[in-house]
Symmetry: C2
Subunit: 225 residues, 2 copies
């Protein structure tokens, strides 16, 4: 499949490596290709791309136009500006996997959630509102990025990943993709429509505090009953 | 110990039975003793008290005046009104165990959190703000009440309970009480000061949705790493 990843940071890079290893075509979207490539240094995108030459870098609109599936791996506070600027036709009937969180670090750590994107709204819903013809599926946003694509790193993969979205078929397609990473029908929990992103994003208020208390972000949840 | 439980509902009753069985003196606080006793029927307080005669029923102020430890088992939307009316002297230097959640069901299920008591504030903090000389400890609010006092009902008790509060000694006292219920040093996680109630209360946005999706409230979380 042609997969566009929006965001050139470490989450986007990790996803790109995985998708490429699975044989997908990966186009990474950025605001300005020249600006992104102009940055140098050991953690720069250029440095990463020199080792991952199969990853194409294009503008957000070019990347989404060519893609069959779009993954939002942008920072939460950059997400809506980018989606507002995207040509709606490029997203029509396409799956948008949103794994971002509306974290507001402006007052330090632990973050709160961005004003207007918490409790009675969420980032996942806001993307869906901007692009009503896209099929937004929220998933993977409740854990450290190392586990997203490799759940088997801990507990034999027996821990939970939520998903939600308005289109059942899109959720099934995403679930199939997640299963190729090691998630299973038992560890995936469909919460229902995209308003349930209020729950998985709201949990970040607790996640960040567990992280602070345990000094370890490499944890996830298991539901026990 | 003399323990005051604020709230005559099922959570308060369950707590009262447990504390009485452990040899504590339990005073249940209510707005108006006569009104509470006047209600009849199989789920009424009177009916419950007829089988639990060791539980004393008094006004909120009387109950807290006599108590060494106060437990808030009121509904979230009733909590602040009750605490605003409480004589501050009755709470001075006393532990207030807050296990309530600021759930707003006014727009149906799943609830949101009450306006002004989410994301950048919490019910636990609001109680602490009203009574700065009390030692508020937030705990047990992230699970079905059946597990609060009997964690061993599932997974040999191996699932998590958070606590937070500003006074370290009070948290230690509460932890000792929780250990008598079956919690352990391994299953109790101290998140830090009372602002961390934003995390454990915020998680209710996810808890209610897991409950809706699985049709089972008798679950809790295990942290896996």
């Amino acid at each position: 499949m042609n997969i566009a990843i929006l965001g050139t940071g470490s989450v986007g890079q990790t996803l790109a490596e995985k998708f490429i290893s699975q044989g997908h075509t990966v186009i990474i979207g950025t605001r300005n290709v020249e600006d992104t490539l102009a940055k140098t240094g050991p953690t720069s995108f250029s440095e990463w791309q020199s080792k991952n030459t199969a990853a194409h870098l294009k503008t957000f609109n070019e990347a989404t136009k060519e893609a069959e599936i779009i993954v939002n791996a942008l920072n939460g506070n950059a997400t809506l500006t980018v989606f507002q600027a995207l040509d709606a036709a490029n997203l029509e009937k396409k799956i948008v996997i949103d794994l971002s969180n509306p974290l507001d670090f402006s007052k330090g750590f632990p973050p709160s959630l961005l004003e207007g994107l918490n409790n009675t709204n969420s980032l996942g819903e806001a993307i869906q509102q901007i692009h009503p013809l896209a099929h937004v599926v929220k998933t993977l946003n409740t854990m450290w990025c190392g586990f997203m694509l490799a759940p088997n790193l801990i507990q034999g993969g027996s821990h939970i990943n939520f998903l939600c979205g308005n289109d059942q078929k899109s959720k099934e397609t995403v679930a199939q993709l997640l299963i190729t990473f090691g998630w299973t029908n038992e560890t995936l929990l469909d919460l229902g429509d995209i308003t349930n992103a209020r729950g998985t994003e709201g949990y970040l208020l607790l996640w960040t505090r567990i992280y602070a208390a345990t000094k370890n972000g490499a944890f996830n949840l298991q539901l026990v009953k």
